[in-house]
């Protein structure tokens, strides 16, 4: 009886069972037109800003694994495993590089794989696709140099890199070789270069794709192509070396920048802002070694980016604040000085020492250092210039490994820093990070790196 009454009432209520969320859209709706794809592309940039990636950790780990900085005994327990080389495959920092990287790749892939099926202006579609391809290339490159042996310090055709992911979906992909990953990265960047136009330094432009190619070719040991790519940037009138390094690192937007990942004040992470790991107002855990201080001569303006505190220790001054927010920074992922350094190294490798000296001196004179007349220590001298110029920007450890140079910490065991190895040989298994344990656990095709 009541059932029949209820059944009469029921249809009115049935539609109440069909509810949809108010914050999210189905994937079809989310990627349906130019506007929604642009939004999804912003999501891909957002992914590379992740804390585990260019938000902080990926940049910092390349420094804590080298000798330009040290981890103070008084620390917040961050980057200890990185500084001490006590890697375990379950390490959270390493896991987040992997996870954050592939999150960015998924977001880029969804854009790349949906852009062709929507209606819209071809130029706009090209721009969207080009930026997404460049992001995908950047992330694959960053993952392969982190989780694989360096191209120039191994056997790239057989060394395991990372899985190349070009479509979305859940799978158990095996690792591609280092060479395969480089091929994919170069192909994506070349394609992107042809699709892109320049919409400012905060997004991938054809120049930014070219600059990244210069870096990739350098890592690949393709000196001629590295030189060509770097030259095209050096010859581009849009870019010029900054006269004032303090001003350049006071915020984003200097004449040197080719691609800068813009962090807005609204993206303030508080103590987890990039700069706060370095400065006393933040954690201040990571401080500058005498190894680096000793590299600067009097008058070198780059030394002004390091400051001394009442405790007589030296701190990193590249990321003090932005937009009035302490420690906030927009990392300059590609800038012109690096192009000079790339070309110097490429020229030196091609036995053009004079050309190399010209490039190094171009920077040195701009920074108030004296001219170099020769390179008595060869590649070591070029590395030293890279240290002076690119310190704290996430290059140091990679520079050691890809050039086959042992990393030696001269400031070691002084009581200021956490106990850690003083030397890591360039052929040590520790120069390659372990594949995260969680990936090994869920992916039967995943192979661990040697030594873990």
């Amino acid at each position: 009886m009541l059932f029949s009454l209820a059944l009469l009432l029921a249809p009115a209520c049935q539609k109440d069972l069909e509810l949809n969320p108010s914050q999210s859209l189905s994937t079809g709706e989310a990627l349906s037109d130019i506007a929604s794809l642009k939004t999804a592309l912003n999501g891909a940039y957002d992914a590379i800003q992740a804390l585990g990636y260019y938000g902080r950790n990926y940049i910092v780990m390349a420094e804590t694994e080298a000798n330009l900085v040290y981890l103070s005994t008084a620390n917040s327990n961050r980057f200890v495993s990185s500084y001490t080389y006590q890697w375990t495959p379950a390490n959270a920092d390493i896991t987040s590089v992997w996870n954050d990287g592939y999150t960015a790749i998924l977001r880029a892939n969804n854009v790349i794989n949906n852009v062709d099926r929507i209606d819209g202006d071809a130029a706009e579609k090209n721009q969207i696709k080009g930026e997404a391809l460049a992001i995908r290339a950047l992330v694959h490159f960053d993952l392969v140099r982190f989780f694989g042996k360096q191209y120039t310090n191994g056997t790239p055709s057989t060394d395991l890199g990372v899985p190349i992911i070009l479509t979305s979906g859940i799978g158990e992909p095996a690792r591609n070789t280092v060479a395969e990953v480089y091929d994919q990265v170069i192909s994506d960047l070349e394609t992107a270069k042809g699709l892109l136009r320049n919409e400012g330094i905060y997004r991938f432009s054809p120049e930014a794709a070219e600059a990244l190619l210069a870096r990739v070719y350098l890592y690949k040991g393709d000196w001629a192509k590295a030189e060509t790519a770097a030259t095209s940037l050096i010859g581009n009138a849009q870019y010029a070396l900054s006269a004032n390094v303090s001003a350049m690192f006071g915020g984003p937007g200097s004449s040197e920048e080719i691609f800068t990942l813009k962090n807005e004040a609204s993206e303030n992470r508080g103590s987890d802002n990039l700069g706060n790991i370095f400065i006393p107002q933040g954690y201040g855990d990571i401080r500058v070694t005498t190894d680096l201080l000793d590299l600067y001569e009097a008058g070198d303006s780059r030394a002004t980016l390091i400051f001394q505190q009442p405790n007589n220790e030296y701190y990193v001054g590249k990321y003090l604040e932005q937009d009035g927010v302490v420690g906030l920074a927009s990392p300059k992922l590609l800038r012109l000085a690096e192009m000079y350094l790339i070309r110097a190294e490429a020229r030196f490798r091609q036995n053009d020492t004079d050309g190399a000296l010209d490039d190094l001196n171009e920077i040195r004179l701009k920074r108030g250092a004296t001219e170099l007349m020769s390179l008595p220590n060869g590649i070591r001298d070029i590395l030293s210039e890279r240290h002076r110029e690119l310190a704290f920007e996430g290059h140091a450890a990679f520079d050691y490994w890809r050039t086959g140079t042992d990393m030696v910490r001269n400031q070691c065991g002084t009581g200021l820093e956490v106990s850690a190895p003083c030397t890591i040989a360039a052929n040590s298994h520790l120069t390659v990070h372990p594949i995260p344990q969680r990936e090994i656990d869920v992916n039967q095709n995943m192979e661990q790196n040697d030594g873990y």
Binding site: L2, S26, A47, I170, G327
Partner: protein, 995 residues
């Protein structure tokens, strides 16, 4: 006992013949108060009268009638033999006595002796006057099969309640809560404190308003709740008025809670200083370097941070209850104010609560009731979340070598100073009074019910309920503190509203065929729609913490908001059949639809069958005189668990991302249109018995609950861009035995005599994962889901001690042997976070006006991963932190057999990594509650015109026996302990006065 005598007496009463005559008398309740409006009828006639305000009546008895029938709502109807009498005094007994004890299942009430299902009842006596905010805290150890743990000592915090084990992994594991027949909301509705256990809307209920709590455990009971019943159902019944004299009770309570750190002990400043110098020495530092890093001057300015952070908390409660009414209208009203300051500075909870339960009988056919319960609480949280100012993390981890006062200024350090050594760059002693976290919760639960008797045996009830929750939050971070410095002070306000509307239509019918066959059916249509809305806004740039409004912000910071809905539509039918009152059968069916599932699986059916056999009423047991009750019960059925996210089945893009201040979108969820309910199959067999004049009674039950289609966030290769995907997989079994015993070793033979009651319950639960996809293990942090193992099985590297030769750590390797390299250590199954059994024992004594009761609670056989210890006994890794006292004992010289490795700067070869080193036995026994009360003598009361005055002193958690070295063995079900708000010990004084 008394009731049985009365009952027997009535059965034996016989009438003798007499002529028509007048008779006068008084009808009173047990306390001697006259009952107004009782019906007195000469049996078998229409001659009847209603008693007056003093309970008096006069009546003319027809010739030949010698029996009066006296009835009154809420009391047992009595037949009184008046042969040869002209005046009679009738004492009516309350209906909630032994014979007609009603068990409330939410949709209906069942006499306990007719019960087929498995339930546990916690009565008002066990709930009343315990100085705790949350009703869940009161159930701990009181009911077999219910496992309750306090995971935080924050007043107002959530409790963890598991009924008969853990039947789910990612979906909700809390039972369903039903108040006066309506499903209500539970959990944390705070937007800014979301994801913490610090706030619980159940804390809005005043425990003193509760008549009883019934926990439904088996299928015949939980199948009534269909897709929402599989974790058990907690049915709360609030107090209602009884006809008779108006009773007014005033309750007042004052108490103190003292911090309790169990076996957890920290190094003092000097010990920490010596220890850290040793760490440096062990790491090859020169004496000069050591003196520079840890100079003796550090000992000049030190702090006992625990002492600073913790205090004696105060509890204050005052309350007024009034109840009464007449045959037509009955009421219960109450108003209370409860105020508790936590043992941690900055943590407070106070609640104002009002309740009014009104029942009105309009006619023989029509009755109404209206329940109104409004409450408002103000909570100040000393958050244990990821905030700088949280005293939880800082109090435990800040080194005693850090002074609280900055000698340069003579004031408190803010923590931002460069030289300040602290985990977070914040001195909570400075920031906590400035940075407030206020959560104000308003809750209204109101229910209107109307019942119309269409026929004598057919009734229709319509219920409408509103459960409205409003949470208003204000978070302020002062510009001079680490949390506020970046934005020159921030203020965030949030308002959240949750609205659940329920409409319930019930049709009940009963009939009997002849003497032996009783039959009743119930049909229900229920509709529930819930809407959750929240918005928040923040400002930055504050000149002063005195103006905590957004208007006083220099600039807006952000605004945000969201809303979500879900709905349930349910059809329910239940039928009961009894033969000769000895054999009972019950069956139920429920069909549920919910918006939470994809169109493919939107509706589901649930059912149950059960039966009972009243063995002691069989003829062959007639001669067994000592047997009062013997009943066998069995049931089987299904129920579900729909406590999952609202839209888990859909493939979604989310919009939280941004780049260059433009909106960004990102894949938020992998879709799975086939996702369906978790469901469980429940078998229950129980035996109830009572012997020797009911002085020994109890229940033994066996259950087996198999839950399948478990929703699990299965870890997937993160090359997909996702780390997990939600799937229905696997099967988990919970089976166990529960024993409840009620003993009366000493029975008072007269009022005020010595009386001793014992209540004991013990529950064994065995949890086992039966099936996983392809039988493969799924890692769950330091635990593993593995077929044949419990859900919370630890899977850890096995600690193999310290290498005596060099003081480095060793771990076991599978197949034997040890390694000094952590990454080469193997993982082993090494324990379980669920206890083997839990038990509660209450001894209650009374003599003259005194009562004494002591309640012990124990959980045995579970392991806890003491992660707090891993941080504070880290062999030098966490230099400049506080250290456990025990860390001071470690390897010193070659040949030492030591428990701890040599401490070194940067740690000793990863010795602090996850391993059994920090896994501990979590068993404990606790004197949960002890009460000594005294009721002033009745003679004094009469002179003072009072009904009753009881004074009492009560202790909570006064004594604990455990080997666990952490703060408190009452651990979270995850088995991981990590710096949480410990539960204190408390002593409370109180007085109840009834007018």
């Amino acid at each position: 006992m008394k009731q049985i005598y009365v009952f027997c007496f009535l059965l034996l009463a016989a009438g003798t013949l007499s002529a028509q005559r007048p008779i006068t008398g008084t009808v009173t309740d047990e306390s001697g108060s006259g009952l107004l409006g009782a019906t007195v009828v000469a049996k078998g006639t229409a001659a009847g009268k209603i008693t007056d305000a003093d309970g008096k009546f006069s009546l003319t008895m027809p010739a030949g009638v010698n029996t009066l029938v006296v009835s009154y709502t809420g009391y047992q109807t009595q037949e009184v033999d008046v042969t040869g009498q002209s005046t009679v005094n009738v004492v009516l007994l309350e209906a909630a006595g032994l014979l007609t004890e009603l068990v409330v299942t939410g949709y209906s009430e069942v006499e306990s002796k007719k019960l087929v299902s498995s339930v546990a009842v916690v009565g008002a006596k066990q709930l009343e006057n315990i100085p705790m905010t949350d009703v869940n805290q009161l159930m701990q150890g009181r009911a077999a099969g219910v496992y309750t743990t306090a995971t935080s000592g924050q007043p107002g915090a959530q409790q963890q309640v598991r009924v008969r084990g853990t039947g789910s992994i990612t979906a909700g594991r809390n039972p369903l809560y039903v108040v006066d027949g309506i499903i209500i909301e539970q959990g944390n509705f705070a937007a800014l404190d979301a994801g913490t256990n610090a706030v619980d809307v159940l804390a809005q209920l005043n425990p003193n308003d509760i008549e009883n709590i019934t926990i439904l455990k088996d299928a015949t009971a939980t199948a009534l709740y269909g897709s929402r019943g599989s974790n058990g159902v907690v049915v709360i019944t609030t107090k209602r008025g009884k006809a008779g004299k108006t009773l007014i009770t005033v309750k007042a309570q004052n108490g103190v809670t003292m911090p309790n750190f169990g076996n957890f002990e920290l190094m003092n400043a000097e010990e920490a200083w010596n220890y850290e110098r040793k760490v440096l020495a062990n790491s090859g530092r020169t004496q000069e370097q050591i003196d520079a890093t840890r100079p003796a001057s550090m000992l000049d300015n030190t702090t006992d941070w625990l002492d600073e952070a913790f205090r004696d908390g105060k509890t204050y409660n005052v309350e007024l209850q009034a109840s009464g009414g007449n045959e037509k209208t009955r009421f219960f009203v109450s108003g209370g104010y409860f105020d508790q300051d936590g043992i941690l500075i900055g943590s407070e909870f106070n609640r104002f609560s009002l309740r009014s339960n009104i029942d009105h009988t309009a006619s023989d056919r029509l009755s109404f009731s209206l329940n109104l319960n409004g409450s408002y609480s103000q909570q100040n949280n000393a958050v244990d979340g990821n905030r700088f100012q949280s005293p939880i993390a800082s109090a435990f981890t800040t080194t005693p070598l850090q002074g609280k006062i900055n000698p340069a200024t003579g004031k408190l350090y803010t923590g931002i100073e460069n030289e300040y050594i602290g985990l977070t760059g914040d001195n909570f002693l400075y920031s906590l009074p400035l940075n407030t976290v206020d959560v104000n919760t308003f809750r209204l639960i109101s229910k209107l019910s109307a019942t119309y008797k269409i026929l004598d045996n057919l009734s229709f009830t319509q219920n409408a309920n509103i459960d409205l929750i409003g949470v208003d939050e204000v978070d302020y971070d002062d510009p001079t503190t680490a949390d506020g410095v970046n934005d020159r002070g921030t203020l965030t306000t949030a308002y959240t509203q949750n609205r659940a509307l329920t409409s319930q239509s019930l049709l009940r019918y009963f009939t009997n065929f002849g003497q032996d066959h009783d039959f009743d059916v119930m049909a229900v249509y229920e509709y529930q729609r819930t809407n959750f809305k929240t918005f928040n806004a923040g400002g930055k740039g504050f000149a002063s913490g005195k103006l905590k409004t957004l208007d006083s912000a220099a600039e807006p910071n952000f605004v945000g908001g969201s809303q979500t809905d879900y709905s349930f539509i349910s059809y329910l039918g239940q039928a009961n059949y009894a033969f000769k009152g000895r054999y009972r059968l019950t069956g139920s069916f429920r069909r549920d639809g919910s918006s939470r599932f994809g169109a493919n699986n939107r509706w589901a059916n649930f059912w149950s069958v059960g039966g009972s056999w009243q063995i002691n009423e069989e003829g062959f047991l007639d001669k067994v005189g000592f047997l009062n009750n013997l009943r066998l019960r069995a049931s089987y059925g299904t129920s579900g668990n729909a406590d999952i996210g609202n839209f888990v089945s859909q493939e979604l893009y989310g919009f939280g991302a941004a780049y260059q201040n433009e909106p960004g979108s990102s894949p938020a969820q992998i879709g799975n249109p086939n996702l369906t309910w978790e469901n469980s199959n429940n078998l229950n067999v129980g035996l109830d018995f009572s012997i020797l004049d009911s002085r020994i009674g109890g229940t033994v039950e066996y259950y087996n609950r198999t839950s399948e289609n478990l929703l699990l966030n299965v870890p997937v290769s993160s090359t997909s861009g996702f780390t997990t995907a939600t799937r229905n997989i696997g099967k988990v079994q919970n089976r166990g035995v529960e024993v409840t015993l009620n003993l009366t070793p000493f029975k008072a033979t007269r009022a005020g005599g010595f009386d001793w009651n014992v209540n004991f319950n013990i529950s064994f639960n065995q949890n086992e994962v039966l099936e996983l996809p392809d039988g493969e293990d799924i890692l769950n942090g330091f635990q593993v889901f593995r077929e044949g193992q419990p859900i919370r099985a630890y899977y850890l590297q096995k600690w193999a001690g310290v290498n005596p030769a060099n003081g480095t750590p060793l771990w076991a390797v599978e197949g034997g042997g040890v390694t000094g390299t952590y990454s080469q250590a193997s993982r082993f199954l090494v324990g379980n976070a669920e206890p083997d059994f839990i038990a509660g024992l209450t001894n209650a004594f009374s003599f003259k006006g005194f009562t004494l009761s002591a309640f012990f609670y124990t959980a045995q056989g579970n392991e806890i991963y003491n992660q707090s210890r891993a941080f504070m006994e880290s062999d030098g890794l966490r230099f400049g932190w506080a250290h456990l006292k025990a860390a001071g004992t470690h390897w010193e010289n070659p040949g030492d057999i030591a428990e701890r490795p040599q401490p070194r700067s940067g740690g000793n070869n990863g010795a602090q990594n996850l391993s059994t080193r920090y896994l501990e036995d979590g068993s404990y026994i606790r004197l949960r509650n002890v009460v000594l009360g005294y009721s002033l003598p009745a003679s004094w009361m009469q002179r003072a015109r009072l009904q009753n005055v009881t004074i009492y002193v009560q202790g909570q958690n006064l004594w604990t026996q455990t080997n666990y070295t952490g703060l408190d063995p009452e651990a979270d079900e995850s088995g991981n302990e990590f710096f949480r708000y410990p539960v204190g010990k408390s002593i409370t004084f109180g007085v109840d006065v009834t007018f």
